[in-house]
Symmetry: D2
Subunit: 359 residues, 4 copies
Amino acid sequence: MHGAMDDEVGPELQQLYDDFAANNMTPLWTQLGDLMPMVPTPEAIPFVWRWKALYDIAQRAGKLVPVGRGGERRAIALANPGLPGTAYATPTLWAAIQWLEGNETAPEHRHSQNAFRFVVEGEGVWTVVNGDPVAMRRGDFLLTAGYNFHGHHNDTDQPMAWIDGLDIPISKYLDVGFFEFGSERVTDEASPEISRSERLWAYPGLRPLSGLDNRVSSPIAAYRWEYTDKALSEQLKLEDEGHPATVSQGHAAIRYTNPTNGGDVLPTIRAEFHRFRAGARTEATHEVGSSVWQVFEGSGSVVLGDVEHKLETGDLFVVPSWVPWSLHADTDGLDLFRFSDAPIIERLHFNRTYLPGQK
Amino acid sequence: MHGAMDDEVGPELQQLYDDFAANNMTPLWTQLGDLMPMVPTPEAIPFVWRWKALYDIAQRAGKLVPVGRGGERRAIALANPGLPGTAYATPTLWAAIQWLEGNETAPEHRHSQNAFRFVVEGEGVWTVVNGDPVAMRRGDFLLTAGYNFHGHHNDTDQPMAWIDGLDIPISKYLDVGFFEFGSERVTDEASPEISRSERLWAYPGLRPLSGLDNRVSSPIAAYRWEYTDKALSEQLKLEDEGHPATVSQGHAAIRYTNPTNGGDVLPTIRAEFHRFRAGARTEATHEVGSSVWQVFEGSGSVVLGDVEHKLETGDLFVVPSWVPWSLHADTDGLDLFRFSDAPIIERLHFNRTYLPGQK
Amino acid sequence: MHGAMDDEVGPELQQLYDDFAANNMTPLWTQLGDLMPMVPTPEAIPFVWRWKALYDIAQRAGKLVPVGRGGERRAIALANPGLPGTAYATPTLWAAIQWLEGNETAPEHRHSQNAFRFVVEGEGVWTVVNGDPVAMRRGDFLLTAGYNFHGHHNDTDQPMAWIDGLDIPISKYLDVGFFEFGSERVTDEASPEISRSERLWAYPGLRPLSGLDNRVSSPIAAYRWEYTDKALSEQLKLEDEGHPATVSQGHAAIRYTNPTNGGDVLPTIRAEFHRFRAGARTEATHEVGSSVWQVFEGSGSVVLGDVEHKLETGDLFVVPSWVPWSLHADTDGLDLFRFSDAPIIERLHFNRTYLPGQK
Amino acid sequence: MHGAMDDEVGPELQQLYDDFAANNMTPLWTQLGDLMPMVPTPEAIPFVWRWKALYDIAQRAGKLVPVGRGGERRAIALANPGLPGTAYATPTLWAAIQWLEGNETAPEHRHSQNAFRFVVEGEGVWTVVNGDPVAMRRGDFLLTAGYNFHGHHNDTDQPMAWIDGLDIPISKYLDVGFFEFGSERVTDEASPEISRSERLWAYPGLRPLSGLDNRVSSPIAAYRWEYTDKALSEQLKLEDEGHPATVSQGHAAIRYTNPTNGGDVLPTIRAEFHRFRAGARTEATHEVGSSVWQVFEGSGSVVLGDVEHKLETGDLFVVPSWVPWSLHADTDGLDLFRFSDAPIIERLHFNRTYLPGQK
């Protein structure tokens, strides 16, 4: 689409344009196509980060960069090459690898931004959320909803790395962020197998009578791998037995949900886990909104736009809005964790979109 | 309160009253106090049924009354003495003991009425809900939401008894019931440890991506005792450790919920499980709406209105609307299952009530 | 459907049945067909009350029966012949004609029961709701949601009659009613054209910033005839102009709604107004739940079940659950007010019903 | 807040930072204070645009710039000086003056972006929304929810200007926009007093039975000045009479709402109208999220941050997130239209924020 004004500009018109600028005004017609494109035209690009590279560089940071008050976290963000000058994976989502050396502590603080952690390998760190120590282990999905105090401490001699996901970009964009420092050390250094949050909340369909109030974020601090793994295996077994259970043939998936309302775990972030049987393949999918995936286990490939990328354990990739994606599992199957800004898109009803020409 | 018309009635007025009747009209003023009392004045009365008596009589029925198409179920309802001529525990709730001899089958049917089962002792029966066999074992809470085909079959040589709860009374009152016969035998005679429904849905906070649609009733067919028991023990342990978890000192409780929305398992019935430590005691409570309790384990007493009743395993009691109740656990503690019509009361906003004279 | 027990009963079985009764137990199998019928089988019957008869008898009551504290209201209820011994139009709904002589006052009180008034003719009474005087005029629909103090006073020398609708029957059934006396006289005897409630709330799509809290009932005390009439005429004009606006050809209708949520005006009662063009006719309709209609203007007929009834201004008729009904407007068209228990049915999800044999 | 790395950087560390960049990674600790500030630190600045300047420049554009397919609209956006290179009033909101010469037509198109128009002076243009001609007159608030075809035509010989508000910025940010061209001329050139949408929907509390489906945006195309004006005057009169009605002393306000749910008119934009009595003054208020105000009538001043600005009819000003604002009305009172991104903030639960140090 081109504007109405692309012909030569006479002096009177030039003066008008100058006066626009002088008066802090901008005409629509010269930039309509950029502002209101026919279909989403994200600046963020599809991109793959390799786990090996991330891990190695984080390990080096572990040796060279101290962690403590001020910098707060040894977290290194995936910076989308299409969003230069930012530390953002997508316009809305922050994804980082965080590294904690043996016996280190990341001090407590709290902020409006919502956070989760996902562990692709390792263990030994407890994240302490509002004084509740939460063990972090391989395959676990852990929550720190907005404005809960939290710190991390490594209870072992070995380093540990994991993935952080936050809504930092949209919080910054919307100018909604508040931040407060807390204790230098975690407020409870115990290292229980499971958190008090889980002891109170992590039962199928059971809600404590002391917890009947509405909660915009899930009260479950940790979604343990044993349940995720079991749920996905059972979906595939049910499929084998001839019962509806999977999303599509060979594709099992769960969404992590808030047990108080059945919806997303955080107001701004959706999190899911997908398992593909060996050889399974999805159709190319367009979605409004952006997502980040991490391979948890297995191997396969993803097609992002027109480009196919091989995938191995720990690799992360980004799917910007409306970029078609499809996945393919190799002979050992493919397990992936996924998070996205779908709650934002859906709550603002921008998922009500159409291909031009369609009703 | 008395009406305006309690003086002698002259002939002209008598004619008026006769004409009311002849025209199918009824004056308000003569019956206002009955129709609109100062506080709820239920006809249902507080009452206790003893498990031993229920069990014995059900056992005799097992020998004398066949089960099959037509009568459909060998279920014997608790009939509130305050509601003569009915088979209702309270105005809204049906509670019955159901008995199945060894190797018997109760044929399949479906109906608008919502049902659950609770097992205070025994095992060996599978209830088959929409073709999904669901094992019934001690402490389990099992759902058959409205208009799902269901039958029961006893896979052992021993009889089994359990409690049925339904919204038959309010369905009859509202004239909303539909009923349809199904298969004479259960459509799947397998006897798996857990149902397909549980394999798909019964994980803490995990929702299958194939099950994102809204559901007015819970998709979990069985809430297993191991989770209920664990949840309650953990609440008491957390209390011991100094953390908020219980409803009140020594009183742990969970509500069975629909994981798709965090609300009640059925649109008309709330179900909960309460555990009291030895010696724990609740304050006298008035509630709008009615409930039925069954002792699961332990001993203690309940005060209903002014009368104290000793309680033992399996005993059932009814609390009509606004009748004050309090519970007391003996030295071995007290476990109780409870169901009520609270979802009806709350959805119609009749829980917004007040003592006269209060704001 | 017949039970399993209709053969001769031997002595052992007779003893069992006697023991059921002695233990306050009732077997399901002997009454299954009554409790759980194939389709709703209401005891309430379709019935028509003639306005002329109602009005005449209310007029006589105006002369013979005082109004005041104790009896509270000179209201005469439509008593469904299928529900003998009650003063109920349907199992859930109360409908009455209320009569106030010139210069009379019905004293203030409040109760949990939700009420509305509809005026088929006349004017001159102000109902005072929480101290806000609300003029009652022909065609107006007026609300008194639960637990608001209210009284009525006739500001003229002429009597006035109107229709009251309440949820007295279901409040009695559920044992949820609270009642409190208020002032002997109305607390504000002013007679403004419109109420303060309307001045604050009755604008299309505008909500006062001082009224952003959720309200389970509509804050609009009076829905004026001028708007109802206009809305219906415009629907028919839009239909004439070829635009979608009516429910079906020649059938315009509005629902009175709560502007704070777009839903029903009261938690238990739906209210609508229907206008049929001359000659318009609806198809026979089955609905779960009961309703009461009043002819406002025009003439026509209703078929209830198999019986056709002629209709004139003011006539009221009742449609019990699942009884098929259809309307037909004579040459001068037909305007009808309707109220029903649909919010109850829908909130309890009993509208999810099916004809047997259907999915 | 400063990061952990602000001391001199040795060669090994420098290499690490270089490798971060080479691998599309960015450390959190060097930019934490920018990304996660203590309180919102918007780049957008508080700013006032003068109506006279806007109008004059738009008038010149009317002479120099044609309107038609390609450029689509003669709209000139308020460009926040704190957001250089954009045409955005705030990060989320677009505000523009649109100008249509006598007898001109802006062609039809549709897009995912939600739009409204507000008219501070003039009349004569009809905006045609999905074929429904909607007159635009002084004081009217008009809606074009996402993906409705719309064009404008001036039915007079005189030019007309108005304000457009859209969610273009957040649509661009989230990459959710779809756009489609429609008819070159408006599809209905009639010039009715009110639109069909109003004839169907714009009645207090009445909902057409043909419109019971949920709608994420309001179906009312035009909120007319006569109702807004009346609602605000009545609030002030009720205040004079001693009844609660206003937001605070001398401050009347309404929110434009969606009659199908009582919520905001659009999923992303809240719109309100505020009236201040002569001399009224608000306290300084901090809000999370941004808003744009336009003076409709009267005069007064606004304090934005620390700076006071005099206000006259038509002046527009922007309040970025967390910037304190207060208003003061001069002797002739002050009427203002306001729109904001509050639905976005509230739906993502970022309104749950706190001053640091508070609970």
